[in-house]
């Protein structure tokens, strides 16, 4: 493990297509696949219960604001774009740019949270709560647990934006930055599935 770190240079995998580079460290993938496993259980549970009462779910889905959903998807994807570019900038030793891009990713997360707040509060004002029906129970809980992930991801990104500026970017630092960025991409990926499940009525 430690010998890998010594021979690894930030962009070695880009120059030599023959060597495969696993982003981040292997350990962080335990968390990522584990988290995706739990969310898969969420999604399968939802799909099975939806099958029991498709009409109710379809009717309930029309109450969700698709414009909000699309805007939040846009913010998640933009956030990932900023974070991916921040990692590239860090690899190229452009530390100030990298920090700036991380902060842009953070802003995407912040706007996402603000929209979610308005979305939830609008629903509650219309008397739609988790106890309204099963669809809204899943909607509030799954998007709520996802929102918790967004907050954790924002903390990670905020830490990275100052971490990348402290001293030169060596292989170890790249590994840590990649690990943190990966978590953000998972948050994005999970949202894409949530968006498809809840907002796109079929």
């Amino acid at each position: 493990m430690s010998s890998n770190v010594v021979t690894f240079t930030p962009d070695s995998h880009l120059r030599d297509p023959g060597t495969k580079h696993v982003p981040g460290e292997s350990g962080v993938w335990v968390l990522i696949f584990g988290d995706m496993l739990i969310f898969s259980v969420f999604f399968i549970t939802y799909a099975l219960h939806r099958g029991d009462d498709v009409d109710l779910y379809r009717r309930s889905q029309t109450h969700l604001n698709q414009a909000f959903g699309i805007l939040m998807t846009f913010l998640m994807l933009s956030g990932s774009w900023f974070v991916a570019n921040a990692v590239q900038a860090a690899r190229a030793q452009r530390r100030a740019l990298s920090a700036k891009l991380f902060r842009c990713g953070f802003a995407c997360g912040l706007f996402f949270g603000i929209i979610k707040f308005f979305e939830y509060s609008g629903k509650v004002r219309h008397g739609i709560t988790p106890s309204t029906n099963n669809f809204f129970m899943y909607y509030y809980l799954f998007t709520g647990i996802h929102l918790l992930h967004v907050v954790v991801g924002m903390v990670v990104i905020a830490v990275l934006s100052s971490y990348v500026q402290k001293g030169t970017v060596d292989a170890r630092k790249i590994r840590n930055i990649e690990s943190g960025a990966l978590f953000w991409h998972v948050v994005d990926l999970l949202w894409i599935v949530l968006f498809a499940l809840f907002y796109i009525a079929v």
């Binding site: 350990g27 335990v30 968390l31 584990g34 988290d35 647990i145």
Partner: protein
């Protein structure tokens, strides 16, 4: 030298307590009490009372096992703290302390539900609603207080990842594994809103997913604790 040997042995005994803990918990819950799968929170008070009337002594016996599981959790928490302390070796090992404090409190998450169930089985012929209330209290104590596990797992994981030595005491993935376990417990915290569905205290996400990650967590942690203790012993020799 003799003392060091003795310490390694005490630590290994603590690890074995960590293996006995889930075994005693499971023995109490399943063969003795018949509480796997969990009781249904949507069941009527009369149905719950009937369960406590029909298996009164089985439930009483099971609660003793669960109480013992709670006792075994204390040394297990202590040996985790001792090994964390080797990594977090400054004058202020706060994450080690936080893990120890949360683990100490977690012992009560075995003992309190056991006593609530025992209370329900203590006078099984009283009004059904009282039995139901104590049964609900016990299940909610089992499923809902995920927060203590969060503190334990996040502190342990953070310390593992912060290990800067050439050959870390625990593999780094074990740190991330701890974070994942912490995540898997979150849905239980929402059980207060539900009597049916996946978030109810007999539900897939509130009970079965955490139950499914809790068992493997003990095994994996125990294996790596034993490795760390053996290494400590070898380093001292």
């Amino acid at each position: 030298m003799e003392n060091a040997k003795f310490n390694a042995r005490s630590q290994l005994i603590c690890v074995w307590c960590g293996i006995l803990c889930p075994i005693f918990l499971f023995t109490g819950l399943w063969p003795a009490m018949g509480f796997i799968p969990p009781l249904n929170p949507a069941a009527s008070a009369a149905e719950i009372a009937a369960i406590f009337q029909n298996n009164t002594n089985g439930i009483r016996l099971g609660t003793i096992f669960i109480m013992l599981a709670g006792a075994f959790y204390a040394p297990f928490t202590a040996v985790i703290a001792a090994q964390m302390r080797r990594i977090e070796d400054g004058p202020t090992p706060v994450l080690t302390y936080a893990q120890l404090a949360a683990g100490a409190a977690s012992c009560l998450l075995f003992i309190i539900p056991a006593l609530a169930w025992t209370d329900a089985a203590f006078r099984p012929d009283r009004p059904a609603e009282i039995t139901q209330a104590f049964n609900d209290l016990a299940w909610i104590f089992v499923v809902m207080p995920f927060v203590l596990a969060e503190v334990q797992n996040i502190c342990f994981g953070a310390v593992i990842i912060s290990d800067r030595r050439q050959n870390p005491l625990f593999p780094r993935w074990l740190g991330f594994f701890n974070f994942w376990i912490a995540l898997s417990f979150i849905p239980g915290g929402l059980t207060t809103f539900f009597k049916t569905g996946p978030f109810a205290y007999n539900g897939l996400l509130a009970f079965w997913v955490p139950a499914g990650t809790f068992g493997p967590w003990f095994i994996v942690i125990c294996v790596y604790l034993i490795k760390a203790i053996r290494r400590q012993d070898a380093e001292r020799a």
